[in-house]
């Protein structure tokens, strides 16, 4: 199948055409530089995203703490991951990097706090 993508590596934003009919030999056209090809192949084979959000925190000096997946997770799991984040409540104290939900959606990736919440 031929897919259209916009390269995100630089402001040029090359319009890439990716033909992945042959999984062993994915063809990329429209890229100006090699980074475009790498990006295109990863986007059609295993696109990944970092998901960010926030969760309510009890007993904290802030109402909510922001969180993120510690590394990118498969794109198709974004909304499942958000559902898990939304079902989570944190309790102060929270430190940046604290695990808020571990192994989110069985991705092997933890959701971690991105801000501190002091206990009040």
């Amino acid at each position: 199948m031929v897919k259209q993508l916009i390269c995100i590596n630089c402001p040029l934003g090359c319009h890439l055409e990716v033909d992945d009919s042959d999984k062993e030999n994915i063809k990329v056209t429209g890229n100006t530089c090699p980074r475009g090809k790498v990006y295109a192949i990863s986007e059609v084979t295993a696109p990944k995203r970092v998901v960010t959000g926030s969760v309510p925190v009890a007993n904290g000096d802030v109402l909510r703490v922001s969180v993120k997946t510690a590394s990118p997770i498969p794109k198709e799991k974004i909304f499942d991951c958000l559902r898990e984040i939304k079902a989570t409540r944190a309790v102060a104290p929270v430190h940046i990097g604290d695990v808020i939900c571990s192994n989110v959606c069985n991705t092997g990736v933890d959701v971690v706090a991105t801000r501190n919440a002091n206990k009040i």
Binding site: V51, R64, K68, I78, T114
Partner: protein, 422 residues
């Protein structure tokens, strides 16, 4: 009245970096005044990732980026006051601030660094006709409501303006269960990053409509019920025959940022009509001796990394000023021509001996395969080839020590675009 060497107005990324740099340059008598109840400024509500690639070689969220700079301030024991709003800065460098705890206070400072950031252009600034109803927010206000306070501004959303904040909010509202029906952009291009167009819009099939604008807002019972959008012609005037109505309860505006220069104005600092920030020299000093400016209050940056970089320089220079006083007598003026909208700093001191000077600028239009050239009295002294330059991205040209020496002998510095196609 108390007396301090350096007062930093604002505890966002610029203020934190300036304070740290001033300290590291040997200055100990520093105070940061922050109006909010926490340091970090607007980064606290920017919970998405993508910050700090340049500075830390890793992708951080806004609060994480802020926390790293906050830590530098804590480690050094630099004094800061929260909930403290500066209401006046005078030309003789007296800073007046108020807070619940301290009442009204005046500090006479040897140097002041203004790092007050910027604000969003409101609806009134772009003359959108229609109902004056609830449900119209600047994107940043919506971002605060969602990310800090935990409330949803609406369920069906149209976003006007495809700057990064608008794009980020399109994704955030989608994440929170809202339906983003369209992002409407007046210009034929986006001022946002491609990465955000892909990951905030395309990932969720949110249409981005270029060369369109909102021409009417309709309301039922005081809340937005729909917006009417239309295509615009080359002169950016709406073509009413193309009007179409989109049902929605929310309109988010991401239509530009404006440096907040009220305080600079009170101190009679000369402002640039192009950047809406102060006119500064290469030490980030304004035309009022001892008042410095950096970060988004000086000119709106694209990446916070560059804010930190600029503010670090300003903090260092403020410390040097406190120590040595003003040594500047003559300047080489800078300017942008042929598509370069502005250059900061607007003038280069002939006296100092910095090893390098960063010239920061923005272009007026997108160009491909263009040469970004620095001309000294008409003669090309540096040139950088760019596959593309766009108005949404800040460009930087660094003059090395040799070039700096040359520039100081010159009369006029010009940054210009050569060749290139639109």
């Amino acid at each position: 009245m108390t007396y301090r060497n350096i007062v930093i107005v604002g505890g966002g990324p610029a203020g934190l970096a300036a304070a740290t740099a001033a300290y590291d340059a040997g200055e100990r008598d520093i105070v940061i005044l922050e109006r909010e109840e926490m340091l970090g400024g607007i980064l606290n509500q920017c919970i998405h990732n993508g910050f700090g690639l340049h500075t830390f070689k890793e992708e951080l969220t806004g609060p994480e980026y802020a926390a790293r700079f906050e830590q530098l301030v804590y480690d050094r024991g630099i004094e800061y006051r929260l909930g403290s709003t500066v209401i006046n800065v005078s030309a003789d460098k007296v800073v007046t601030y108020v807070s619940e705890k301290e009442g009204l206070q005046k500090i006479s400072a040897k140097a002041i660094v203004l790092t007050c950031g910027c604000r969003e252009r409101p609806r009134g600034g772009i003359n959108i006709a229609g109902a004056r109803a609830a449900g119209i927010f600047s994107a940043g206000t919506a971002q605060k409501l969602v990310n800090i306070d935990g409330y949803m501004p609406g369920k069906e959303v149209v976003i006007l303006g495809s700057g990064d904040i608008g794009l980020i909010m399109a994704r955030r509202m989608t994440f929170e269960g809202a339906k983003v029906k369209a992002v409407v952009e007046l210009m034929p291009y986006s001022s946002g990053l491609n990465r955000n167009i892909v990951q905030c819009l395309n990932d969720f099939n949110i249409p981005l409509m270029f060369s369109h604008t909102v021409v009417d807002i309709k309301a039922t019972d005081g809340r937005v019920s729909s917006v009417v959008i239309a295509a615009v012609d080359e002169r950016l005037q709406p073509v009413m025959s193309t009007a179409q109505e989109i049902t929605c309860d929310t309109l988010l505006l991401s239509v530009g940022l404006l440096p907040e220069n009220e305080l600079a104005g009170y101190a009679n600092v000369q402002l640039s009509p192009v950047t809406n920030g102060a006119v500064v020299d290469d030490q980030m000093m304004t035309d009022v001796e001892g008042i410095f400016e950096c970060g988004n209050v000086l000119h709106v940056h694209d990446l916070v990394d560059y804010v930190s970089e600029e503010a670090t320089h300003a903090g260092k220079c403020a410390a040097a000023y406190v120590k040595n006083g003003n040594t500047a007598t003559e300047y080489v003026p800078t300017c942008g021509t042929n598509g370069v909208r502005y250059v900061v700093p607007q003038k280069i001191r002939k006296d100092d001996n910095y090893e390098q000077i960063s010239l920061r600028m923005r272009v007026a239009n997108a160009f491909r395969n263009v040469e970004l050239a620095v001309l000294l009295d008409g003669e090309k002294i540096v040139s950088r080839r760019r596959p593309i330059v766009t108005p949404g991205e800040m460009e930087t040209v660094v003059l090395n020590s040799e070039l700096v020496k040359r520039v100081k002998q010159g009369g006029k510095l010009e940054v210009t675009l050569l060749g290139g196609t639109k």
